[in-house]
Amino acid sequence: MSSVDPIIWFFMFGIFAGVVKSELRLPGPIYEFVSMLLLLTIGLKGGIELAQRPFFTLLPEISAVLAAGFALPLLAFPILMYLGRFSRVDSASIAAHYGSVSVGTFAVAVAYMHSQNIFYEEYMALFVVILEVPAILVGILLARGVTTGSVKWSAVMHEVLLGKGVMLLLGGLAIGWLSGPQGVETISPLFFGLFKGILALFLLEMGLITATQLGSLRRYGLFLVGFGIIMPLCFAVIGAALGAWLGLSVGGTSILATLFASASYIAVPAAMRVSVPEANPTLSLTASLGITFPFNILLGIPLYHALSTKLFAILGGS
């Protein structure tokens, strides 16, 4: 019991309050603020880490992760379209959600590693940014076909790259990188000292939002539930394999697996709403928020860690 991180209890408290239809709500501006702080903090942490190593040493990892970002939605798409019998646009949209990543899940994974005293490569925040974007582009192409003239790519790139999430992650990365570990010391009480508390509030609200999605679950049936659990597991295996292959630590490998397993519920829905409006947003949000997010938070992360540990044991890595 005492081994469960309190932030997980906040999430479950949120789900409970939502399910019993309590009036509890984080005010809109506060939820936005809390999200912004998380994104900035994650970016800052990554940037500080980057400041301490030559950038080009990371090029192989960056390339591999970037390639995976393009590949993952291509794996999910046929499953959704042929097994799930979703329309082409819905399949493309859901595939984009699962090919991309969830920053909230990443934050919980990081908190998990800290609380278990597991080392991981802090520059992984960089991978959050790298994985956020490609799936969106692939999703749009899958929905529209390659020869599409009707996609306003400049509007899409604007939506994707200049959206709040990517901006804050990149801004944090840049500021952390430019300032280095000593530089950020004076701002660390807000960004690092309060991190877990802020994450707890974020998860409380995520629980409340998750609860509102549960109602739609019944409507969309078993396939979506299965997909929302099995797809992340498969992606986690791919992520763990890639992490091990790239020579990451066990912690870093677990986090990469978590990233692959996570599904976007902020950047991708917004981009899809603008670029592929025919896709039903309830479908993808139900899956990513109603199933995959809670699954990853409650069960996935420890599982992916166990998986990575196992893999390292097999490979004889450390």
Binding site: R25, L208, I209, T212, P269, R273, V274, P277, E278, P281
Partner: protein, 101 residues
Amino acid sequence: MTSRIKLVTVFTEAAIESSLVHELDGIGVPGYTITNARGKGSGGVRSGAWEANANIRVEILCAEALAELLISRLQERYYEHYSMVMYMSDVDVLRPEKFSS
């Protein structure tokens, strides 16, 4: 002293605010006013709890011809795939020339 023109009011998804504003500017409306909203319609409850399900309420005062154009343009571009409800009414304004540019 006052003169009769049209008021078009639009309820729609907050997610398309910037796209909609772009459209309004393109059509050449003389102005618009936006407030945050929540609500319910054929697409279910949109509680405004978080961005993906927040609404906005847009008002545009303009001459009748432009109002007709506006309505048909929004209908064509957004009605099919987005939550959107529109209504039009007659109102009296001072300085009608301000709204007929």
